[in-house]
Symmetry: C2
Subunit: 306 residues, 2 copies
Amino acid sequence: MTGLPSWRDGAARRAIEEFLAAVTTGPDAVPVAERVAVFDNDGTLWSEKPMPTQLHYIVQGWQRAVRDDPALAARQPYKAVASGDLGWIADAVDKHYQGDDGDLKTLIGALVGQVVDVSVDEYAASVAEFFATALHPVRGVPYAQTVYQPMVELLRHLEAHGFTCYIISGGERDFMRPMTEGNYGIPPERVVGSAFGLSYDEDSATVHYTDALSFFDDGPEKPVRIWTRIGRRPIFAAGNSNGDIAMLDYAARGARPGLALLVHHDDDARGDAPYDKGVEQALDAAADHGYTVVSVRDDWATVFAS
Amino acid sequence: MTGLPSWRDGAARRAIEEFLAAVTTGPDAVPVAERVAVFDNDGTLWSEKPMPTQLHYIVQGWQRAVRDDPALAARQPYKAVASGDLGWIADAVDKHYQGDDGDLKTLIGALVGQVVDVSVDEYAASVAEFFATALHPVRGVPYAQTVYQPMVELLRHLEAHGFTCYIISGGERDFMRPMTEGNYGIPPERVVGSAFGLSYDEDSATVHYTDALSFFDDGPEKPVRIWTRIGRRPIFAAGNSNGDIAMLDYAARGARPGLALLVHHDDDARGDAPYDKGVEQALDAAADHGYTVVSVRDDWATVFAS
């Protein structure tokens, strides 16, 4: 599959095609090894509404924990999941973006508590089981059907032009790895995300999670992790939120001008309701730094494959 | 180039060929995507005697610092490089392996001082310049000529059998990246090593080093970094020292039995003098866990290409 059949002929699609022509032919052609493209995940490659998929998995785990130990329901975040009112969780994340990390720390503590001492293989099996059974809470379909078809076409189209594509997500890396090959054709070694701490157990020769979050791969941490993992500066980046600005800038503002795409969820009918929350600064940055804004309403003829 | 022409027909070469036959054909064949091989660098892919190459680069930098500010020569490690007696540096590393990190901390402080606030691109240019001009202090040849020819053949031979090869070194990652493609055919995105801290500068859209060492990629940290970067368990590993035991075990002791090679520098004539220091436990582990020991004297017909 090549080409971009789910993209309407408009400014975004033309910007992509012009960029690909410029970096693959003529005097400014970029060597194949240096054709690196990076993609955010939630809200860029698949739906992040009504909540990021990983939160669904986490809430399921907390619900199990409360069933095993009902006393947990007296404190957050277990109280929220026991009552069925997840507003506290959304508020904790909102507060983080307003500079108050108090509740986020409680959230992360309970998050890390789900994996501490679990081996990476056990966690991968648990995540794979989730993806095999969980349904999107609004659309009632497996999460694989919440993947944005135009973006999968874009991954393949870039690859057909010699690009190597990576996922650089604020989501947690090992939650993504069991599904990225199937959903996006991206193997685990090209998935970068937030990370739990890890330790190696010499007796069993296995790797386990520790009781700490190692880093949160968002905002300015994204270019840092891109360098750490790839050792090259991307010439293409796609994101959809304020947390992607640094990554979009890093691709757009190198010695070789790159293409930065900002997916804008302005569609009121097909899939996610329109939203600008958490995107305000990214839209400003798009105007200031020349990102190409992709309008879901106008630029995508099809949103989901099925 | 395929095959192993610089390897003599012996137990080590036969173990490699039998392993490759088992993982590529028959009922236990491993899918290509899961054929992951990991290699230590210093002492495994090239010479680490009389000192690791990076130490040469570091000493040059400290010598320049003393020239710029002679008062530095009053304290370590500048005192050592100003006097020309590098024994203090070797002792600091030896003490680390005996559990005393005091001098190592001084060493790392001066090491980080060389790169703090430097951009990753500036550092890469400085390292590339070093490799273009520096000569091995004993053999008087460019460091590219200290690469072990049998190991380069092994990299290509594994790739010819569908493997993807990575470098997992205690050496610092961004010091290796400018030379791994040329010396070993391994691109920067497949180089894992110890790491300086990094930060992203939003004004210039560039990544810089901070004033901290992020982690030391040795011993049990190697399997942790393998999982972080690759997300797969290797089925082949090659190392040469105690710091490689965890990595060799990780490859050897998975659900799929892997091959672990321990390069043993027992040759007294061609290149490095024989040495067992820092290898004692690895030789014991080889006996206990079935690593294949590669005798430089007996298994390699040629050591260096030139």
